[in-house]
Structure formats: C-alpha cells, structure tokens
C-alpha cells in the first residue's frame, strides 16, 4: 500500500505540473489576442446612444483603471497567479464587476449536467453495442448498427442538431427547442421545474448521444475483438461457462479499462462546454460563455473557463489513473 501511496504522490505532482503548464499556455495565448476589452466595452456602450468623442477618451482611461489593466506584464502575470492560488478569477470585464467565478458557477451546472448524462449514456450504449458487435461478429443486426453508428458519426454536428430540431420542434413539435427549462419557472427543486429541465434536455442530449455513440462503439468493438481471442475467453467458452457470463465477466470486463479511460477523459472534458449544442438549442452553458468572453476580449473570463476545463480534464485523467489498479488488478504501480 505504501507503494501505492508513493504512486499517488508522484501522480499528484505530475498533475500539478501539467495544470501549471496548461494554464500558462492559456495565459500566454489569451494575452496575445488583439482584442482590447476596453475598446469592446466602449463599442458596446457607445453604439447605443450619442456619445461625444471627447468623452470617450475619458471613459477609456477610467475603464482601464477599473479593469485593472495597469502595470507591467510581469506584474499582471504575478497578480494573476496570486489570484488563481486563492481560487479567485477576478471580476469579468465584460460583465464588470460580476466575478468570473459567479458567471462560471451559473453556467457550469447546465453544461456539466447535460454533458455528463449524455456522455455516460453514449458511452454505455456505444460500449454495450460495440461489445456485442465485437463478440457476435457475424450478427447481421449488429453489423447494421455498426454501419449506422459509423454513418452518423461523421455528420457535422451542427447539421444533425438542426435536423433534430426541425423534426421535433417544427414538423412534429413535441419537444421544446430552446432553453434549459420552461420560461417563467423559478429555478427551484420543484417537480415542474425538474420535469421541464428533463424535457428541455431531451433534444440536446439526443443529438450528443447520436454523435457520440459511434466512436465508443468502434472503440469497444475493436477492443472486444482482441479480447475474444484471449485464452481465458476461449477457455471459459470451452468450459461451458454461460454465454452471457462469458460476455460480461470475461469479454466486456477485460475490454473495459481502456474504455473507462476514455470515459474519464470525456467526463473531464465536460467543463469545456458544448458550444454548438448551446448555440443550436439555446441551452445555457459554459461554451457560449467562453465564445462571448473571447469576443469581448474578457481575458479574465476566458482564462477562468479555460482553467476550469484544464482542471476538469486533468482531474479526469488523474482519477482514472489512480483507480486503474482497481479496474485492472494486473497493473502494477511503477
């Protein structure tokens, strides 16, 4: 067990290193964008009325001060890390003075909820079907499912989402096509609200699942078709172990660890948001927050979202790495 402890420590150190490098890369690129948050703010404000030119210069100065854009690049960089270490992303510039963490905190549950559910469903469905297809390689039905999965997989997501929307929102209007829940419903854990959230999630989730299933299907099928040639599977079959038992405990179980790694990474990735889903279905979430932030030159918000997402994926990878010895008892921690 102490060996495992050492492994955890080493793995955590690596986690910290990777997160550190990742955030720095994001910082550098973010600060290289030519978009000036002050100019963007002024453009928004002044496009809604008649502002005298001489007043604008004043506004510029006070905004620069307000947004904390003063100081040398080194000072700004150090200030950034000081804040980050206190888990404070500072105020958003495009929604000044609301803190970045408030904005992210508001959007994140939607994204994370939708993506977590659809990722897990897509993973489960894809892995199950892929596992069956890899085991019963001659089955026509499964072959057909394979072709469909492969065919749906490369459809540009935007098109697929829009088609779903037109079908279920217009031609046969049974599902809501916009928002995370019905308008005018207070966001409270009431029955109505929960039902409404689920209704609104059906189409976005369906679109994500349809697109997502294919790659899990292919991955699992490939893994299983390797596992079925392993001696322990052949031996179990020979010994008359019941087919479903062979399939579940021998074939699927052994093909699972790599798939789980993929799942963990995808689950870590849910903090990236799903921009197109959010755009098409008007679903609240981090993705559109990010794109808006980029447009507004809101470094603070961009870095906030990016940092959360770096942390998400690294944590996903970390967790699966730490759990791997449990998933696959053969793995020695070295």
């Amino acid at each position: 067990m102490s060996g495992y402890f050492a492994y955890v420590v080493r793995r955590l150190a690596q986690f910290v290193l990777v997160v550190f490098i990742g955030i720095n890369i994001a910082y550098v690129i973010t600060h290289a964008t030519p978009i000036d948050p002050v100019e963007q703010s002024i453009s928004v404000v002044t496009s809604f009325g008649n502002t005298a030119p001489d007043a604008i210069e004043k506004m510029r100065t006070s905004l620069r001060e307000l947004y904390g854009l003063g100081g040398s690049p080194v000072e700004q960089y150090l200030a950034f890390w000081k804040r980050i270490l206190r888990a404070d992303f500072g105020p958003s510039m495009s929604a000044f003075p609301t803190p970045v963490s408030t904005l992210i905190g508001r959007a994140l549950p939607w994204t994370a909820g939708l993506l977590a559910v659809s990722t897990i469903v897509a993973w489960g469905l894809g892995s199950l079907l892929g596992g069956l297809a890899g085991y019963y390689q001659e089955s026509r039905g499964l072959k057909l499912i394979g072709v469909i999965a492969i065919g749906v997989h490369p459809i540009p997501y935007y098109i697929l989402a829009l088609v779903l929307l037109i079908v279920f929102g217009f031609l046969w209007p049974v599902l809501p096509i916009t928002g995370g829940a019905a308008m005018n419903l207070p966001q409270a854990p009431t029955f109505d609200f929960i039902v409404s959230v689920m209704q609104h999630a059906v189409l976005p989730a369906l679109s994500l699942i349809l697109i997502g299933v294919g790659s899990w299907f292919l991955g699992m099928r490939a893994l299983v078709s390797h596992v079925v040639t392993e001696d322990y599977v052949v031996y179990a079959e020979l010994a008359g172990v019941r087919p479903w038992r062979v399939l579940s405990s021998y074939v699927m179980r052994n093909a699972l660890p790599p798939q789980l790694t993929g799942l963990a990474m995808s689950l870590g990735g849910i903090f990236n948001g799903a921009v197109i889903t959010e755009k098409v279905f008007g679903y609240p979430g981090v993705g559109s927050l990010l794109v808006d932030a980029v447009y507004a030159g809101d470094y603070g918000l961009v870095l906030g979202v990016t940092t959360v997402s770096i942390l998400g994926v690294s944590t996903g990878v970390l967790v699966i790495d730490l759990l791997y010895p449990l998933l696959d008892p053969r793995v020695k921690v070295t």
């Binding site: 392993e230 001696d231 322990y232 052949v234 031996y235 179990a236 020979l238 010994a239 008359g240 172990v241 019941r242 038992r245 405990s249 021998y250 179980r253 052994n254 998933l327 696959d328 008892p329 053969r330």
Partner: protein, 344 residues
C-alpha cells in the same frame, strides 16, 4: 487405412475404453486473399484411453498433439476444422464427438465428465477476477447445491490438492506460475470428471515445481480415478507419470506402447532417435542430432512423413503411408522398416 490395422481399445484385459479416437483428421483451413492453405495438423489418428490411466502424447511442436487434444475437447473454431473421424466417450455414446452432439448434451458432460487444462497457465484465467469466481463460473452450475456447500466443497478439494484456500481470494497474477497451474488443475478436477485433457501442464515451470505438479496429477488419478490425457513435448515428463505413451510426428501417431516399453524398446526410428539423443547427467557420450526439419504440414512429403529425415528410409517410404500396426502386444508402430511384412 489398411484393414490390417489394429483398432485400439480392443485389448483383452480392457473393458470399454473411456475415450476412443478413430481416424481423426483435423485441418487448419485458411483462405486469405485467395491463398488457400490446408494444414493437415491431425491426419488420421486413432487411439483409446482406458479408465483410470494416464495416457501420454509426446511430440515436437507442430506435431499436432495440441490440435488433437483441442479437437477432442471440442475446441473447434475456424480456421480449425474436423475433416473426418470420430471421438467417442463412454459417457457420451453415439455422437462421435462433442462437435456433433446436441448443445444440451455437451453442456451436461463438460466439466462434469470431461475437463480440459489448456496450454499456457499464464493466460487461461480471467486476469481481472479472483479465482473464486472462476470456480463458481466453471463448476457451480454442474454441482447444483447451495453456494455455501459449494464453497466448502471447493475448499475441501483444494485441501486435498494441498492448496491453501486463500488462493480463492487471489487474482491470477498474484500467484506464482506453479500455484497458478495447480489452481488450474484444481479447477479442472473439482467436478471429478472421468477424463481430464491436460495440454503441456508443466511447461514453463521450474523443475522443482514441475515435479510437484506431476505428482499432483498422479495423485488425482489415484484419488478420483479420472483418466488423464497428458500432452507434453518433454519425454522426461512422460517418463515420470504416464502409463502409456503415444508418439506423434507431423500429425500422425507413429508409435504407441506402455511408457516403460517405449523407453526400453523404442522401435520407430524417430522415437529411437528422441530417446537416444537425450543427454543424461553422468553420461559423457557424445550425441548426434537429427538432420533436417519437421515437415511443412501445408505441403507434407508423400508417403511416410518422416522419410526425408529417416536413416532407414526405403523406396516404399517415399510414396506409401505406413499403417499403424501392433507388432507386439500393446505396441503399435507405423513404419515400414519395423513392419517388414507390410513393406513387402
């Protein structure tokens, strides 16, 4: 086959054999990008195993011994295909092999009457599950009693085989090679089957452990009374435990006799060479190797398959297949040089 060939299992002192194999032919057939290959891995093998005996099968790699035992065990999947012959078990009469028996029958006899120890103990156990679950998966459906009772049976069985019950809680990779092989043997014998097919059960084990495992197999035969078909390329193993021994070469059984008889009086030139080339500690006599290489079974030489390497090869050997004839009681040989009468 010539009619003069002796059928196995008709020895007077023998009751009905528990397992008899007749003229079994199993080929590997592949068709890849139009290149058809037909590897005659087992080409007309006949033998019988009596109740309670350990029957050894020896031969080099590619001699077909593993294919033979797999075919008997019913592990026939493409590209392996049974082309002809039959396999009869006393407990599964009338079908001529697992392949032709109905699934329910096969399910009934598997593990209950016939168990199989596959080659390569490293990989035959599910690496991600504890051994206990292997016992449950493999044997529990055949035993039909409460789980608790079953657990006790397993522990008792392990104790009989001098295995600690703690192995049940272990993952395969946590056990040493020897322990793993013993556990596999325990798994194959838990239902006290009539026939155990054991393919290279001691290969890759250290010599000390190997000896213990062999002792364990002898013990099982003694205690349970199972018949064992033991495949090994190592003549030392056969010398240690088998009662009778069949020597295979290039897919054919070329000599069969009681093990002692084979070692004392090998008749087939190939067997003779095998026995004589074995180095022995304390024996400094230089030994000579056998020239040439085993034949390619996709395109075997005509006639006797050993003839290109045989020091006694005659003209007839090049185009005629020698029959397996009983030259002495219980001693069958397929060789024109030995069975001069046939050659004539």
């Amino acid at each position: 086959m010539t009619q003069a060939e002796t059928m196995p299992g008709e020895l007077p002192d023998d009751a009905q054999p528990i397992l008899s194999v007749r003229d079994l032919q199993a080929h590997f057939r592949t068709d890849r990008f139009g290149v058809k290959r037909d590897v005659k891995a087992v080409d007309g093998v006949s033998f019988a195993v009596r109740r309670g005996e350990i029957y050894g099968l020896a031969g080099e790699s590619s001699s077909g011994k593993t294919t033979l035992v797999r075919t008997i065990a019913g592990a026939v999947k493409p590209p392996l295909d049974v082309v002809g012959g039959r396999v009869d078990f006393a407990f599964l009469p009338g079908y001529g092999g697992l392949r032709r028996a109905p699934a329910a029958e096969v399910a009934r006899i598997r593990w209950r009457h016939l168990s199989y120890i596959m080659q390569g103990s490293m990989n035959v156990l599910n690496p991600v599950r504890r051994l206990r679950s292997a016992f449950v998966d493999f044997a529990y459906p055949h035993i039909g009693e409460s789980r608790k009772q079953f657990e006790q049976d397993v522990v008792a069985h392990l104790a009989r085989l001098k295995l600690d019950p703690s192995v049940l809680a272990a993952y395969p990779h946590e056990l040493s090679g020897g322990m793993r092989q013993r556990a596999t043997i325990a798994l194959a014998t838990i239902c006290r089957p009539d026939v155990i097919l054991a393919d290279e059960p001691t290969t890759a084990l250290d010599v000390v452990v190997q000896k213990e495992v062999l002792a364990m197999i002898s013990g099982i035969r003694r205690e349970i009374g199972s018949s064992v078909v033991l495949v090994s390329h190592d003549l030392g193993v056969h010398a240690q435990v088998t009662d009778r021994l069949g020597i295979m070469y290039a897919g054919r059984l070329i000599e069969e006799a009681a093990t002692v008889e084979i070692f004392r009086n090998p008749l087939h030139p190939y067997t003779r060479h095998l026995i004589s080339s074995l180095p022995r500690i304390g024996d400094d006599v230089p030994r000579k190797g056998l020239e040439g290489a085993p034949p390619n079974l996709a395109d075997p030489p005509p006639g006797c398959r050993f003839h290109p390497r045989c020091p006694l090869a005659m003209e007839i050997c090049r185009h005629k297949v020698p029959a397996t004839l009983e030259t002495a009681p219980g001693h069958r040989i397929a060789c024109f040089a030995v069975n001069r009468s046939e050659a004539a």
